[in-house]
């Protein structure tokens, strides 16, 4: 087992729960602000009503640092990616530019040809934020933000069993819609990225439709709460009874 795993002997069983009696849910207010589509908020609020009907308790809770999650993530993740992807250098495996004259040309051409635009963007951002003179302002600051996010979640779990929010502030965008605007695309992950930064388990349930497209509800639990979280998700999923299917063309003989 590698160093990022813990040897907990816990086994997860198939969830069977059908109610949420006495379970306390915190509604993260920061994820229901301006960035959140009204249609998404509507579906989410309906889901909150369902939780109440199953005996659960929902209350608003503020996690002020989670709004900085995207900013922190898009420093930390590219920093790690720029380092993780250094191994694709053409020396041992994968693409190698044929016929380079020297080692530097081999590196430059191999990596220029082998990586796509988004990967290159992240490698460049990551390399920049780790550079001498910029490290503290970017990477150091992002890591401190991450710590604040972890602390916010920890505090919230002192009062709530689980936290809930929309999975994404908008419904799915159309193909190619945000391709020219990576920042807008990154914002789709507003609600999920803080969960990853804090290393917490989360699950997304289809909760309803807005403009004909599915809206997800996200359930977040404390560390190692997977079993309880799956049980709660099971009960809620049954109640939500999400039936939407993509439109199917009528075929007539």
């Amino acid at each position: 087992m590698d160093s990022t795993s813990l040897g907990l002997p816990r086994r997860i069983t198939i969830p069977t729960a059908t109610d949420l009696a006495g379970t306390r849910f915190g509604v993260i207010t920061e994820f229901l602000g301006e960035a959140c589509d009204p249609g998404v908020r509507e579906v989410f609020n309906d889901a909150v009503a369902h939780i109440h009907s199953l005996g659960g308790v929902c209350e608003e809770v503020s996690l002020p640092s989670v709004e900085k999650g995207i900013a922190a993530y898009y420093i930390i993740a590219p920093a790690e990616a720029s380092s993780n992807l250094a191994r694709f250098d053409g020396v041992r495996y994968g693409h190698r530019h044929p016929g380079a004259g020297d080692i530097m040309e081999m590196y430059l051409r191999t990596r220029s040809e082998g990586f796509g635009a988004e990967v290159k963007r992240r490698i460049m951002i990551g390399t920049y934020v780790l550079s001498a003179g910029y490290y503290e302002a970017y990477y150091g600051q992002a890591q401190r933000t991450r710590t604040l996010i972890i602390q916010d979640f920890r505090r919230a779990f002192e009062s709530f069993d689980y936290l809930i929010s929309p999975t994404s502030p908008t419904v799915a965008f159309t193909i190619g819609e945000r391709i020219e605007d990576p920042l807008a695309m990154y914002l789709s992950d507003l609600c999920t990225i803080p969960v990853n930064l804090a290393g917490l388990p989360g699950i997304s349930l289809p909760a309803g439709l807005s403009r004909g497209l599915p809206v997800g509800l996200q359930l977040i639990g404390p560390h190692f709460s997977e079993q309880g979280m799956l049980d709660a998700a099971h009960a809620l999923e049954r109640k939500l009874a999400f039936q939407a299917r993509p439109p199917v063309a009528e075929v007539t003989r």
Binding site: D2, S3, S82, V91, R92, L130
Partner: protein, 497 residues
């Protein structure tokens, strides 16, 4: 105050200059497995046979820290009187080079395992020079490159290069000294004594030729009392002699530059043993930005007080303490105790011989004399010597009991080395062995006295010299094997009695 040109005209006088030297030493730990995977660390295997997806940096693989390597590093830190960092972490040092499979080296940065230690170096003149140890940190070794074609043997201009990853991922400890060293001699003494210390700690093969002990130096020169000059990093000194010669050449070069009014450029400098010259590899403008950041694939390492105490308690006796004990326990002179105390294997050998032979002084003389001469002449390691400690002590017992004279013992020792036979067998086969049998000798002495009444009478008349004649006769009859002391005693008794 004199200008540089005045100095130059007056000729370079090294006393006018002071060198400031700090050393960076890399020690390969002789753990069974590598730093972050289960591959063996054995040296000299066929290329790329001691590798796995982890040490080859394949995507998706994750490292796990070798606990034994942490223990060895802690031993080194403690033996150098460092403070052990309770909460230590690994960093990634990012740079591209074909011998570095992941594109980064897992190393340590601002939280090294050990900080603030020192090594007391005994100089040639017996004085103790204290050299500060800035830090002791853990990291992984890179692979090895072979550059084919091209004249330089370097990557620039080579037709193609081959990579052997067997060494990649081998645990390394880097020891960084304070710039407390002032001469190439001191640097050599420091490295020698550090090597002895590491040998005692049993953490590394410390073999400079095989690369398990490597040394780089940071060097600058200045006029005594003036602020530090610009330093260069001197590399590729893979023997004690090259360290000394490399430093001498670089100090000479820097003094020459400054004396002729030029500046010393901050650079990496390469020592070429064949020419004895130094050449600049890369200047500071090309210096790397290693983009250090905490290694996210590894957890921090907690070295609590109990752990550190346990490692400290497990430390073997170190050279300084051993020297003291050899003086106190065996009554050895300081010099002998120093020699035997600093070389772990030789010290162990000495103790076994001294114990079995029952004469520490005699054991020390032989271990430092004939035995060391044999090791030096053949290049054999103590552990592999043809004459083990039990065999040597058997020989010394024959010497001590008078069966062999010193001269004969030396001959027997040579035979033992060549044949591997025990002393008693060599003595028997060669018909050696001093005759210390009183009865046998007494018979002979009686016979000779009776057979030579003339000389016997002369001796009784006071001519002491005649005793020599009789001794000669006895030695002739015994082919030189009679114990001379005993012969003297018996002759006097029978001539006078």
């Amino acid at each position: 105050m004199s200008t540089p040109s005045d100095e130059s005209a007056a000729g370079a006088v090294p006393n006018d200059w002071e060198a400031v030297i700090g050393l960076e030493i890399h020690v390969q730990l002789h753990t069974k497995t590598k730093m972050f995977c289960g591959c063996p660390t054995s040296f000299g295997e066929a290329p790329n046979t001691q590798v796995c997806p982890i040490c080859l940096g394949h995507p998706g693989t994750l490292p796990v820290t070798n606990e034994r390597a942490v223990e060895y590093a802690t031993r080194i830190a403690l033996a150098l009187d460092c403070r052990v960092t309770a909460h230590t972490i690994f960093h990634r040092k990012n740079y591209f080079y074909p011998d570095l499979p992941k594109g980064y080296q897992i190393s340590q940065y601002d939280l090294p395992l050990g900080v603030g230690g020192h090594l007391n170096v005994e100089l040639e003149n017996g004085a103790i020079h204290r050299v500060g140890i800035t830090r002791v940190h853990m990291e992984e070794d890179a692979g090895k490159l072979v550059h084919a074609g091209g004249a330089s043997g370097r990557i620039e201009g080579a037709d193609h290069s081959l990579v052997d990853f067997n060494r990649g991922g081998t645990p390394l400890v880097e020891i960084v000294s304070e710039p407390d060293i002032r001469t190439p001699d001191q640097a050599r003494s420091f490295l020698t004594q550090l090597k002895n210390l590491l040998e005692h700690l049993d953490v590394s093969d410390v073999n400079m030729e095989e690369g398990s002990l490597r040394c780089d130096a940071n060097v600058s020169v200045r006029r005594p009392g003036e602020p530090l000059g610009t330093k260069t990093e001197l590399k590729n000194m893979n023997s004690f002699r090259f360290l000394q010669r490399g430093l001498e050449a670089e100090i000479e070069r820097q003094m020459g530059a400054l004396e002729s009014g030029r500046a010393v450029e901050q650079a990496t400098v390469h020592f070429d043993p064949s020419s004895g010259r130094v050449s600049t590899l890369r200047s500071k403008e090309e210096a790397h930005d290693y983009r250090y950041f905490p290694e996210p694939d590894l957890v921090p390492i907690q070295l609590d007080e109990a752990y550190v105490a346990a490692v400290r308690a497990s430390l073997p006796e170190l050279p300084a303490a051993r020297k003291e004990r050899f003086m106190a326990e065996y009554g050895l002179p300081a010099y002998d105790a120093g020699v035997l105390g600093s070389n772990r294997a030789l010290g162990d050998y000495f103790e076994q011989v001294a114990g079995a032979a029952g004469d520490a002084k005699l054991a020390a003389n032989w271990v430092m004399g004939d035995f060391s001469a044999y090791l030096n002449a053949t290049g054999v390691e103590v552990e592999a010597a043809a004459v083990g400690p039990a065999a040597l002590s058997d020989l010394l017992i024959l010497l001590r009991e008078g069966t062999l004279s010193s001269k004969m013992a030396k001959d027997v020792f040579q035979d033992m080395i060549e044949t591997g036979k025990p002393a008693s067998v060599v003595v028997r086969e060669r018909g050696l062995g001093q005759i210390s049998d009183t009865l046998a000798l007494e018979e002979l002495v009686k016979r000779l006295v009776l057979a030579n009444p003339g000389p016997a009478e002369e001796f009784r008349g006071g001519r002491e010299k005649v005793l020599g004649f009789f001794v000669g006769q006895v030695m002739k009859e015994t082919r030189g094997q009679a114990n001379p002391q005993l012969v003297n005693e018996l002759l006097r008794r029978h001539l006078l009695g």
